[in-house]
C-alpha cells in the first residue's frame, strides 16, 4: 500500500511539471499584459513596471525564473494586487473555499446518499419518482438562477440570511453559498446512489444474504451499501477537488472571496502569477483527491488490492 502511494506521488511530479509548463506558455499567448488598461501607461513607466517584475526578460528566462521560485515554494507577487503575494491571496481564498466546499460536499453525500438509498428501496413508487424529479430539477436548474433566487427569498424577503459578502465568516453569510453549491451535488449523488443501489440489491450475494434470513437493515447497510458506494466515491473525488477550489459563479453572486473568483479575475487581469498559482493548486487538489479515491476503493471493496 505504502509503495503504491509513493509511486503515485512520484508520478504526480512530471504531471504537475507538464501542467505548469503548458499553462505558463498558454497564459503568455493571450494578448495584453497585466499593465494594459483603459488609461494606457507611458512607455517609460511601463518599462519600469516590467523591470520591477522581471517581465522584460525573454520568455524562456521568465519560465525558468518561475520554475526555480516554484521549487522553493515561492509563487511570486501578484502583479495586480501588489500588496499581496500569490501565496497570501490563495491561502485566504482557500480558507473560504474549503470551508464552503467541504460543507457542501458533506451535505451532498449525506442528503444525496440518503435520498438515493430511499429511492432505490422504494423503486417505482411515489417516493422514488419524487426523488428522481427533485434530482433532475436540482441538476438542471443552474446555480446562477438558484443563487439570486435564494438571495431574494431568504436575504430580502424573509431576512434570515445576508444577501452576500463574507464579513467575518458568520453562519448567516454561509448558508446561501453552501446551499447553492450543494444543490446540484445532492442531485447527482442521489441519482448515482439510487442507480448503484438498485443494481447492488439485485446481485447474487444480496439474494444469498436475504435467503439466509439477515435483517433488512443488515442486508442494506452491511452488504449492499459497500458495493453501491463505489460509483459515488469515484464521483466524489473529482467533485471534492472542484468544490474545494471554489466556484466562480457562486462566489461572484454571493460576493465571496474564494479561490474561484481569484482565478477568473486573475485571468482577466492577466495577473500571470495568480493564474499560475491557482492552476498549481487545482492540479495538486485533483491529484490528491484521485489518490484518496483509489485508496478508499481498496478500503470499501475487498477485491481491490494495490500491493
Amino acid at each position: 500500500m505504502l509503495r503504491y502511494v509513493i509511486r503515485r506521488v512520484l508520478t504526480a511530479i512530471p504531471t504537475l511539471w507538464l501542467i505548469v509548463t503548458i499553462s505558463f506558455f498558454m497564459m503568455r499567448l493571450a494578448p495584453g499584459g497585466p499593465f494594459n488598461q483603459e488609461k494606457g501607461l507611458q512607455p517609460a513607466i511601463k518599462a519600469n513596471l516590467e523591470r520591477v517584475y522581471h517581465l522584460d526578460a525573454p520568455l524562456w528566462k521568465q519560465y525558468f525564473f518561475y520554475l526555480d521560485n516554484l521549487l522553493h515554494g515561492d509563487l511570486g507577487p501578484s502583479y495586480v494586487a501588489v500588496d499581496f503575494t500569490v501565496a497570501e491571496k490563495l491561502s485566504l481564498g482557500l480558507r473560504v473555499s474549503i470551508e464552503l466546499g467541504l460543507s457542501a460536499l458533506v451535505l451532498a453525500l449525506i442528503i444525496g446518499g440518503a435520498m438515493g438509498i430511499y429511492a432505490a428501496l422504494n423503486q417505482n413508487k411515489l417516493a422514488d419518482y419524487l426523488v428522481i424529479a427533485t434530482a433532475t430539477a436540482g441538476s438542471t436548474i443552474p446555480n446562477f438562477v438558484i443563487g439570486p433566487l435564494f438571495q431574494l427569498v431568504f436575504g430580502l424577503w424573509l431576512v434570515w440570511t445576508t444577501v452576500g459578502g463574507w464579513g467575518d465568516g458568520a453562519l448567516v453569510n454561509k448558508i446561501g453559498p453552501v446551499f447553492t453549491l450543494s444543490l446540484p451535488q445532492i442531485a447527482i449523488v442521489a441519482r448515482l446512489m439510487r442507480g448503484s443501489m438498485i443494481e447492488a440489491l439485485r446481485s447474487h450475494h444480496i439474494r444469498t444474504a436475504r435467503a439466509m434470513g439477515l435483517s433488512d437493515w443488515s442486508v442494506i447497510m452491511k452488504h449492499a451499501l459497500r458495493g453501491a458506494l463505489l460509483p459515488v466515491i469515484s464521483y466524489a473525488g473529482p467533485a471534492a477537488a472542484a468544490l474545494l477550489t471554489g466556484s466562480v459563479v457562486v462566489e461572484t453572486i454571493f460576493s465571496i472571496p474564494g479561490v474561484g473568483r481569484e482565478f477568473v479575475l486573475g485571468a482577466l487581469n492577466r495577473d500571470y502569477t495568480v493564474v499560475m498559482g491557482t492552476v498549481v493548486l487545482i492540479a495538486i487538489f485533483t491529484i490528491v483527491f484521485n489518490l484518496i479515491v483509489d485508496l478508499l476503493y481498496a478500503l470499501v471493496d475487498p477485491r481491490v488490492r494495490y500491493d
Binding site: 493571450a30 494578448p31 495584453g32 499584459g33 494594459n36 488598461q37 483603459e38 488609461k39 494606457g40 501607461l41 507611458q42 512607455p43 517609460a44 513607466i45 519600469n48 513596471l49 523591470r51 520591477v52 495586480v80 494586487a81 501588489v82 500588496d83 499581496f84 491571496k89 485566504l92 481564498g93 480558507r95 474549503i98 470551508e99 467541504l102 460543507s103 458533506v106 439570486p148 438571495q151 436575504g155 430580502l156 431576512v159 445576508t162 444577501v163 452576500g164 459578502g165 463574507w166 464579513g167 467575518d168 465568516g169 458568520a170 453562519l171 448567516v172 453569510n173 454561509k174 461572484t252 454571493f254 460576493s255 465571496i256 472571496p257 473568483r261 479575475l265 482577466l268 487581469n269 492577466r270
Partner: protein
C-alpha cells in the same frame, strides 16, 4: 481543515453576530460599496477611483477636497507662489500628525514625492508629478533620484519648483500619488508596510482590516487634526463586482452607498428608490477613435459625416437609460472658466444631420451600390455592444456596412496601444484632475493614449503655449481654441457621451454632496 473546525468557526461567527445585534457597541459604522479591490494601499502604486476613495480617507495630501470636491488646505495650511508661478511654497499645518503620533513635516513630502517618481517604485501614475522640475527625467531613468525640484526649507516649509507655471497643480495635489507615506514606516516594514497593523497614515482614518475581495475596514484616526468633527467611527469599503448583488445588498441594508447601479434596470430602480439614486455629469468622455492614418478614415469630411449620423440622444436614452449624456465636445462641461467647443452640427436636428451625412457620403461615392465597410472594435461589455449595435443600425441608411469585433479589456487596449490595424475603436477617458488639459493632451502628437495617431502642429502649439501661459483666463482660451481645431474641426476623436456618476445613497447617510468629480470623503459624511 476538517469539518469540526468549520463548524466551530460557524458557531463563533454566529455568536459574534448576536453580540453585535444586541448593541454591544454604539459606534457609527458606514458600509460603503466600492467597485472592486484596490490594487494597493500604497498611494504611489495606485491609479483608479477604486483606490482613490479609500486612500482619500487614509491619507491627506498638501491640498484636500471638501464634500463638494473643492480644493481646501490639507497637510499644508497655506501656500504662496513666486511672481512667475514656478516656485510654490507650502506652509505645513501646525499640529498635523501621523497615526503613530509623529508630526507631518515638509521632509515627509520630500521623501514621498521622490519615492513616487523613482523608477524603482514603478508608479503607474508618476506622471501626475510631471509638472515638477526633473520629475519626468527621473522616472525615465535619465536623471538621478533626489534631483526632483522639491525641498524642505525647514520642518514646516515645503518648496516645489515647477517646469512652468501650472494653474491646475493644486488640483493635481488631491490625487493620491502626491500623498505622503511615512518614511520610518516604509523603511521599517518594507513591502509589508501597507498591511493592517503596520500602515501609518495621516488622514482621518487608519487601516484596521483587509480581507481581499471582501472588505477593507478603516477606523477613525484619533491623531487626525480635525478628528473632533469626524462623525463616522468605522467605514467598511465593501468590494462589489456583481452589480445585481450590489443592488440587493443595498436594499437589504448591508451597504449604505454604492458607486454603480445596473444601467439596464435604471428606469425600474429610479421608480423604486427615487432620489436615493443619484445621477449626474461626471468628468469623463466616452468616445470612438478613428485610425486617422489609414484610408478612408484620413478624410475629415467622412469622419464628420459618420459622427453626424450617430444619434447620440437615442444612445444615451435607450442604451444607457440617461446615465450618460450626449456629447458634442470632448471636454465635458463643468470646468470653471473653460468654454467647451462643440462640433458645428450640435444644434441641428437629427434628421437634418442624417440628410447632410447622406449627401457627404454620396459625394464621396458611397451608397447602397458601393457600401463603405467599417469595423467597430470595443472591449467586452454589454453596454459597449449595445452602443455599437445602435450605431450599426444608424449608419446603415448611409450605405455603411458596420461589422463589430469585441475583445476582452486587456486585449483591446493592448491592441490600441500597439497601434493595431483597426477602423474605429471605443475608448473612455475619466479626468484625473479638473482641467481641460487632461483631456486635450490625448490628441497631442505622440502621446501614448493618442490611438487615432492624430498629429497637427497647430494643435500641439496651442497646447504648448497653454502650458507656459501664466494667466489663467488666457490659458483657458488657448485650450479652448485647441479643442476647436483638434476636436470640433479635425475630429481627432469622436465624442459620443459624457460619463455620468451613478450613485445609490441610503437616506441614513447625510452630507452627501453630488459633484462632477464624484468625490465623497467619509470625514464629511454622517450616518443616522
Amino acid at each position: 481543515m476538517n469539518l469540526h473546525i468549520g463548524l466551530k468557526s460557524w458557531l463563533a461567527g454566529s455568536t459574534m453576530l448576536v453580540m453585535t445585534a444586541s448593541g454591544a457597541f454604539a459606534e457609527v459604522v458606514y458600509n460603503r460599496g466600492n467597485d472592486g479591490d484596490p490594487s494597493s494601499l500604497d498611494p504611489h502604486k495606485t491609479s483608479t477611483v477604486v483606490e482613490a476613495h479609500i486612500l482619500r480617507d487614509l491619507f491627506e495630501g498638501l491640498t484636500s477636497q471638501n464634500a463638494k470636491a473643492e480644493v481646501i488646505p490639507g497637510a499644508a495650511e497655506s501656500w504662496s507662489a513666486s511672481a512667475d508661478g514656478k516656485v510654490l511654497t507650502f506652509k505645513m499645518r501646525a499640529g498635523a500628525a501621523w497615526s503613530d503620533g509623529s508630526p507631518v513635516t515638509a521632509h515627509d513630502f520630500v521623501y514621498s514625492w521622490n519615492r513616487a517618481v523613482d523608477p524603482a517604485t514603478a508608479s503607474e501614475y508618476a506622471y501626475m508629478l510631471a509638472p515638477v522640475m526633473n520629475a519626468e527625467d527621473i522616472t525615465a531613468g535619465k536623471k538621478k533620484v533626489g534631483e526632483l525640484g522639491v525641498k524642505a526649507v525647514d520642518d514646516m516649509t515645503f518648496e516645489v519648483t515647477l517646469n512652468a507655471s501650472t494653474p491646475y497643480f493644486l488640483e493635481m495635489l488631491t490625487h493620491q500619488v502626491t500623498f505622503p507615506v511615512n518614511k520610518a514606516n516604509v523603511e521599517a516594514k518594507g513591502a509589508d508596510f501597507t498591511k493592517p497593523g503596520n500602515l501609518v497614515s495621516n488622514g482621518a482614518y487608519t487601516l484596521a482590516e483587509f480581507v481581499p475581495n471582501d472588505h477593507i475596514k478603516l477606523v477613525k484616526n484619533a491623531k487626525f487634526y480635525d478628528a473632533a468633527t469626524v462623525q463616522i467611527d468605522t467605514v467598511n469599503f465593501i468590494s462589489l463586482e456583481d452589480r445585481a448583488t450590489a443592488m440587493k445588498r443595498f436594499e437589504a441594508g448591508e451597504v449604505d452607498t454604492n458607486g454603480d447601479v445596473p444601467t439596464e434596470q435604471l428606469a425600474d430602480l429610479k421608480a423604486k428608490f427615487g432620489d436615493k439614486i443619484k445621477l449626474g455629469a461626471y468628468l469623463g468622455t466616452y468616445y470612438y477613435t478613428f485610425k486617422i492614418k489609414k484610408a478612408p478614415w484620413d478624410n475629415v469630411k467622412l469622419r464628420h459625416a459618420i459622427s453626424e449620423a450617430i444619434d447620440r440622444e437615442y444612445i444615451a436614452e435607450k442604451i444607457w437609460q440617461n446615465s450618460m449624456i450626449p456629447a458634442y465636445s470632448y471636454v465635458p462641461p463643468g470646468i470653471g472658466g473653460y468654454e467647451t467647443r462643440t462640433v458645428e452640427y450640435s444644434e441641428k436636428s437629427q434628421i437634418d444631420r442624417e440628410d447632410e451625412a447622406k449627401k457627404v457620403l454620396a459625394e464621396l461615392g458611397y451608397g447602397p451600390d458601393n457600401p463603405l465597410k467599417m469595423e467597430i472594435s470595443y472591449n467586452t461589455s454589454e453596454n459597449h455592444k449595445n452602443t455599437a449595435v445602435a450605431i450599426q443600425e444608424q449608419l446603415k441608411p448611409l450605405g455603411i456596412e458596420v461589422t463589430m469585433i469585441n475583445r476582452d479589456g486587456k486585449t483591446h487596449f493592448d491592441y490600441l496601444e500597439q497601434h493595431g490595424d483597426f477602423d474605429v475603436a471605443r475608448v473612455g477617458w475619466i479626468a484625473d484632475y479638473k482641467d481641460p488639459e487632461n483631456f486635450l493632451a490625448l490628441c497631442k502628437s505622440g502621446t501614448g493614449n493618442n490611438y487615432s495617431e492624430y498629429s497637427n502642429p497647430e494643435f500641439d502649439k496651442l497646447l504648448a503655449d497653454a502650458a507656459v501661459e501664466a494667466d489663467a483666463a488666457k490659458r483657458m482660451k488657448l485650450l479652448s481654441d485647441a479643442e476647436a481645431i483638434g476636436v470640433a474641426r479635425d475630429l481627432c476623436l469622436v465624442p459620443l457621451l459624457f460619463y455620468g456618476y451613478k450613485n445609490v445613497v441610503s437616506d441614513k447617510i447625510k452630507g452627501w454632496e453630488v459633484n462632477v468629480m464624484d468625490v465623497h470623503p467619509t470625514r464629511f459624511l454622517s450616518k443616522e
